[in-house]
Point group: C2
Chain length 246, copies 2
Amino acid sequence: MPAAKHSATPSYRPLYEQIRILLTQSLVAGEWKPGEMIPSELELAARYRVSQGTVRKAIDALASEHILVRRQGKGTFVASHTQPAYQYRFLRVMPDTGEKLHPQNLFLELKKVKAGAEHAASLKIKATTPVHSIKRVLLFHDRPLIHDEIVLAAAQFPGLTLPKLEEFKGSMYMFYETVYGLRMIRAEERLRSVAADAATAAHLNVAPGAPLLCVDRIAFTYGDKPVEWRRGLCLTDGFSYYNELS
Amino acid sequence: MPAAKHSATPSYRPLYEQIRILLTQSLVAGEWKPGEMIPSELELAARYRVSQGTVRKAIDALASEHILVRRQGKGTFVASHTQPAYQYRFLRVMPDTGEKLHPQNLFLELKKVKAGAEHAASLKIKATTPVHSIKRVLLFHDRPLIHDEIVLAAAQFPGLTLPKLEEFKGSMYMFYETVYGLRMIRAEERLRSVAADAATAAHLNVAPGAPLLCVDRIAFTYGDKPVEWRRGLCLTDGFSYYNELS
DNA sequence: CAGTGGTCTAGACCACTGC
DNA sequence: CAGTGGTCTAGACCACTGG
């Protein structure tokens, strides 16, 4: 017997949708951590007093968003940026050769500053709230490829220091996840073509004025909560930003 | 009674997958045309001798690829670029204001030429095969925004002429669909940042050397058959290429 | 082998559309 | 109202994993 076929909210909300929300809440609460296995479909069906099929549909939805990962014969797992296939989940820049891009991090600085208007709006915090501003360069085969500025709300990343970033081996999102328990599930990007300014040109070892791909990104964790603002300036000489439209 | 739970192919193929293939074949054969309603789930279930649930799963897959569109209470329809929501399905460039982009076409030329190596590889045809090369500019509020070169296999677009393009009102994909029965379902894009050459600069009314977003696209019809190669050079001053990562 | 996810069925009922 | 897609169930069986 299902708990309730209808919710109190104005418009109709199917059961599997309610289950999806409950599962998400458990994820937010940390009941199951990234990489861990969640209970089997039959267990969850029993817990929520619904049929296996309904649980399946809820899990299907979360799996299609890459929040959960199903593995036949093993179980269903919380997706993690530490899993090999998810290491560079959001990195769309790739060599035109088809080679795999495993860039190297070179951190330039970490400053604690006050959020400007754009950062504040993106991160849904008040302007002048303290934020960390990180600058780094991504190297590919020892050649500088991308210059990033990354802005994070200081309140969400207490005790963040340059050495901590530098000693960590792996992507930023792996870092957020393992050190701060923040798993990024989604991002929005806006791309523009810009001319390199002097400072960026120096970092990327190109002439000032060279055309660069400017990628503005906002990354979100569970519940569409924005966590990271990022501006990447990227060389596209032998590299390109790949996208599938469907 | 299902026709067969296993296919003859080496590895296991579920029934709903076989149904999905049959539906796709009917679409390719033109049994149901863009915009038309396909038979109801129960009819299809009877036709293929499977349960409604199995048909549902096949349709779900096609709907998630935007090949079919479900409308509760009405039926399931073949997606069409002529439907308002699908007009500019693959246009990711948008004003930073959030305004909707309804660009205007200005055709510059149509030439019949031989396919070069890149076009041939992209369209999976032999080099030197005849192709149409179309050049146009997209205007937004009378301001030139994008310069496109579009390459199509001549064999697939017989009798294509500039006047035909010019008299047609709507997007290119609407044109392919309504005039040649070719519905594009998917595209791959590669983005780069480039400096405007003299000719492009003139068309877009900017200084030579200005940074432009170069968008190379291959668009596919049913069965991943490539139909269109396109190179767009786009101003990103007040506009940007929007993308969601998940 | 037991346990997991994956498929498929048959049937009941709900929500939405348009006549 | 009939007809469509959408939800939910209960149960059978298949495919895959690992001990």
